[in-house]
């Protein structure tokens, strides 16, 4: 969380889509910390996607500003191209992101626009696919892949560009447990290489066990941000915006204060099990 203030910072962001009355973002100030796994949580319509579109300069703030590494975003063509090499976005719907007809072709699509040599392109694409467990699917037509495979292909396409910061919009939506695990594994590999990963989600259990840092949006404003322990420390705050608590956090808070004083809240089922074993004999 070091250098947070110099990484991607949104200040007093305001944005209203044309012909809608309510603003999508309203005085939103929030910082994406470098090197973390950050989860942006909130309901549909809370402003998560709009925020991402601002991060890439696709939407321009109507008030406030976005800055990247200490400098305010510029919206010239050249500046945007360079920003978008450093910040990658994975769409919620992979159908929108996958343009070419095979995974290998699609992953190399972005690399080709960088003007790399064919051999390098080939190698980097293949690597990206392999890291996401798609090594054997490079030549399969995309319409024959499962949703989980498509999502990973879309991620591979963004990953191959080696951005510093990857934003994912609802990456696990519609995935079954197995595909979800594979996708999260892929994210872990990317994060392990030093990439900052940000995920928008409304799956509280996932956010709780995956993220190092949480940003809670509600009605276009930043409602809270901090570590999962901090954010979920007060159950009522989250419930007041209708988000509910992750099961584990909920159970933890229901335990008597004196029994758990000084302990760290369990972040996954394994830790919870260990904890219960201490109590239940």
């Amino acid at each position: 969380m070091e250098q947070a203030a110099d990484y991607m910072v949104f200040e007093q962001l305001g944005f209203t889509y044309p012909d809608t009355s309510a603003p999508a973002l309203h005085c939103l100030s929030v910082t994406i910390p470098k090197g973390c796994r950050t989860a942006v949580i909130g309901h549909n319509g809370s402003g998560k996607s709009t925020l991402f579109l601002h991060a890439l300069g696709i939407l321009r703030p109507q008030s406030g500003r976005v800055s990247w590494k200490g400098k305010p975003l510029e919206y010239g063509k050249k500046e945007l191209v360079s920003l978008r090499r450093n910040v990658g976005l994975v769409f919620q719907d992979p159908e929108q992101q996958l343009i070419m007809s095979t995974p290998l072709d699609d992953v190399s699509f972005g690399l080709r626009s960088l003007g790399l040599e064919q051999a390098v392109i080939q190698q980097r694409s293949q690597e990206a696919l392999e890291r996401l467990g798609l090594g054997g699917f490079g030549d399969k037509p995309i319409h024959q892949l499962s949703l989980g495979q498509k999502k990973r292909t879309a991620l591979a396409g963004v990953m191959a560009m080696e951005p510093e910061l990857i934003l994912l919009d609802e990456p696990t939506a519609y995935l079954d447990p197995l595909s979800e695990a594979l996708l999260l594994e892929g994210l872990e590999a990317i994060h392990g290489k030093g990439t900052t990963v940000v995920m928008a989600t409304h799956d509280m259990d996932l956010a709780y066990r995956w993220a190092d840092w949480l940003i809670v949006l509600s009605g276009g404003q930043c409602y809270a941000s901090g570590t999962p322990e901090q954010v979920f420390s007060d159950p009522e705050v989250m419930q007041s915006i209708g988000l509910g608590l992750p099961i584990l956090a909920d159970l933890w808070h229901s335990l008597p204060q004196k029994a758990i004083a000084g302990m760290a809240a369990p972040r996954n089922v394994g830790e919870m099990k260990e904890l219960l074993q201490q109590f239940v004999k």
């Binding site: 696709i58 159908e95 929108q96 343009i99 070419m100 007809s101 699509f109 319409h143």
Partner: protein
């Protein structure tokens, strides 16, 4: 833009008015736009702008933008309408440019400018009527009006399905264009054609999947061949608008009579 226009048509001051009445009013205005004197055509244009912007509270920006975009066709055709090529008779041409290497001259005549001006007056009036329909009446209700006009059921059903899937497909297509922009996109004619070909393929695949999905979905709901349309139901038209509409038309007609006398 489609979404904006569509959203306005569902949320404007005239939303509750009977769609049949609105269409009838627009139809009369269309006819008047063709029949009346240019001066009165401009009056129609202004009058309808008042209805749309003041009464129906259509956002001015959207109205002006759509008007401007539609008028581009006129602007584009203007050279063909104004410029004459050949040998102007003496005193006919306003401005002349001799065409190099030939004996021909490009020139503009007073008659041509007058024709362009008259055309603009009629265009503006007709376009205003069209905008009135577009902005104040949601497509769903126009469909019911078309049914009252005895447009065949098959055509209505096709329109219904088109309208339903228009927005979904448009979101997809926009997403794809955006994704392409974010990831750089390629240069050169060959690469562009190849890319466009695959995007077309991807979109086509999606459209075909939607078709299969829809045919299952409708089968599950007991679709047996015909999509029954809801019955026509029109809201009342406040007396004020009826009076203003009728008296406006009467004034226009009287003015025309007086002018042609």
């Amino acid at each position: 833009m489609i979404r904006r226009i569509d959203a306005i048509s569902y949320a404007n001051g005239f939303r509750q008015l009977s769609p049949l009445w609105k269409s009838l009013f627009a139809a009369v205005m269309f006819i008047l736009s063709y029949l009346l004197h240019p001066f009165l055509q401009l009056t129609i244009c202004l009058w309808i702008a008042v209805w749309c912007l003041l009464y129906a509270r259509i956002p001015v920006r959207a109205y002006v933008m759509l008007l401007g975009m539609a008028l581009l066709f006129y602007v584009l055709s203007l050279p063909a309408l104004l410029l004459e090529i050949g040998h102007p008779a003496a005193g006919q041409a306003w401005i002349t440019f001799p065409l190099p290497l030939t004996s021909l001259t490009v020139y503009i005549t007073a008659g041509g400018v007058l024709r362009g001006g008259l055309l603009l007056a009629r265009l503006a009036a007709c376009l205003s009527c069209l905008l009135f329909v577009i902005f104040t009446t949601p497509f769903t209700e126009l469909l019911l009006v078309l049914r009252r006009l005895r447009v065949p059921q098959l055509v209505l059903e096709l329109m219904l399905i088109m309208y339903r899937f228009l927005f979904l497909l448009s979101d997809s297509a926009h997403g794809m264009l955006l994704a392409r922009r974010l990831r750089g996109g390629s240069r050169g004619f060959r690469a562009t054609i190849r890319e466009a070909g695959s995007m077309g393929g991807a979109l086509l695949g999606q459209t075909m999947r939607r078709y299969r999905g829809l045919s299952q979905g409708l089968a599950a709901r007991g679709f047996t061949g015909e999509i029954p349309l809801p019955p026509y139901s029109g809201g009342p038209v406040p007396l004020r608008y009826r009076v203003e509409g009728c008296s406006g038309i009467a004034v226009l007609l009287l003015a025309q009579l007086w002018m042609s006398w």
